[in-house]
């Protein structure tokens, strides 16, 4: 199995993702420059966090027009796996690969802290090694993480079991107080209808080593690796 980490001008979590894949998943991984258009050799791509194009216009809005994104759309349509983290989630929403949008945090601040998320479904390639209801302690670092969508989309996400992570408190309760950014229904991560594209605001790649305060993010990468091992 081979992973790719897409690099836009302004990406800054690309090395973290690369490190986790090479060190903890133990699989080959390449950086993919945003002008590259050949994804044929990859089984999964990660769109990392950062500030692609300086967040100009809207977070993720300009990255959508990078040449690699057309290929990412085809890659996703072919059933291969796409994981968008933080700015990567914003880019996937802007590109129409995931529904909804991410707007300015309710309290305006850039928030950088460890929060708790609850795994809502094990039925994704990114969470199949995790238990439904598991509470993970993972950092967030964003100013535009406030997930919005219309009522019909929210109902569809619920009905199709596509809300993968909710912000919650330590005990796993998705309360308003545990919602760091004002996201609709405490939504922290969603997948597409085909379940092979996941976007999330928290940074599991920054939570893979106890030295960094938590290794709760490893389960998602372990899940993706197990998925790829099974389909290979």
């Amino acid at each position: 199995m081979k992973f790719g980490v897409i690099v836009f001008p302004g990406s800054n979590c690309d090395h973290d993702a690369y490190h986790v894949i090479s060190k903890h998943v133990g699989q080959p991984v390449d950086f993919i420059w945003h002008r590259d258009t050949d994804l044929a050799s990859y089984d999964a791509v990660i769109i990392p966090g950062g500030f692609s194009y300086g967040d100009y216009l809207r977070a993720g809005a300009l990255a959508r027009f990078s040449p690699v994104m057309n290929e990412v759309k085809k890659f996703a349509a072919s059933g291969r796996f796409v994981l968008g983290i933080c700015n990567g989630f914003q880019i996937l929403c802007e590109a129409g690969l995931l529904p909804g949008a991410l707007i300015r945090n309710r309290d305006l601040h850039f928030i950088c802290e460890h929060i708790f998320v609850r795994v809502e479904t094990s039925d994704t390639p990114f969470t199949n090694e995790l238990k439904q209801g598991a509470v993970l302690r993972i950092p967030i670092a964003h100013a535009e993480g406030n997930y919005v969508c219309d009522d019909a989309t929210a109902a569809e996400l619920r009905r199709e079991d596509r809300i993968v992570l909710h912000y919650c408190d330590r005990a796993g309760h998705a309360t308003d107080a545990a919602n760091p950014n004002g996201s609709r229904d405490n939504i922290a991560g969603i997948c597409n209808r085909e379940r092979n594209v996941l976007g999330l605001m928290p940074h599991p790649e920054r939570a893979c080593e106890d030295l960094l305060g938590s290794s709760d993010g490893r389960g998602m990468f372990r899940s993706l690796a197990a998925t790829l091992a099974a389909v290979a």
């Binding site: 216009l57 027009f65 909804g100 949008a101 309710r106 305006l108 919005v148 969508c149």
Partner: protein, 90 residues
């Protein structure tokens, strides 16, 4: 050189958050406005404004069609924002 001298049309695009979409920046501005004593001002919403130069030969209808497409596909995110296009002929 000024737009008029170069014989360019000017398009103006206003992008605003849809009603009901939270605008925390507008709220923060509102708070400052209240501190200044402007109690008669309410509901401040922040938006974006773009100016675009277009070849005059394009004609107003084509210019409007092109800029509207740009506004819809790039300048705004239709999930959260509305847009309005104005064309000023040279």
């Amino acid at each position: 050189m000024a737009w008029e001298e170069r014989n360019l049309m000017k398009a103006k695009v206003y992008v605003t958050l849809k009603p009901g979409v939270l605008d925390p920046q507008g709220k923060a501005i509102q708070h400052s406005v209240e501190l200044l004593g402007f109690s008669e001002m309410s509901d401040i919403r922040q938006g974006k404004y773009f100016e675009i130069a277009l070849e005059n030969s394009l004609g107003e209808d084509q210019a409007r069609a092109s800029v509207t497409r740009l506004a819809r596909e790039v300048l705004s995110n239709p999930i959260i924002e509305d847009y309005r296009v104005e064309i000023e002929e040279a």
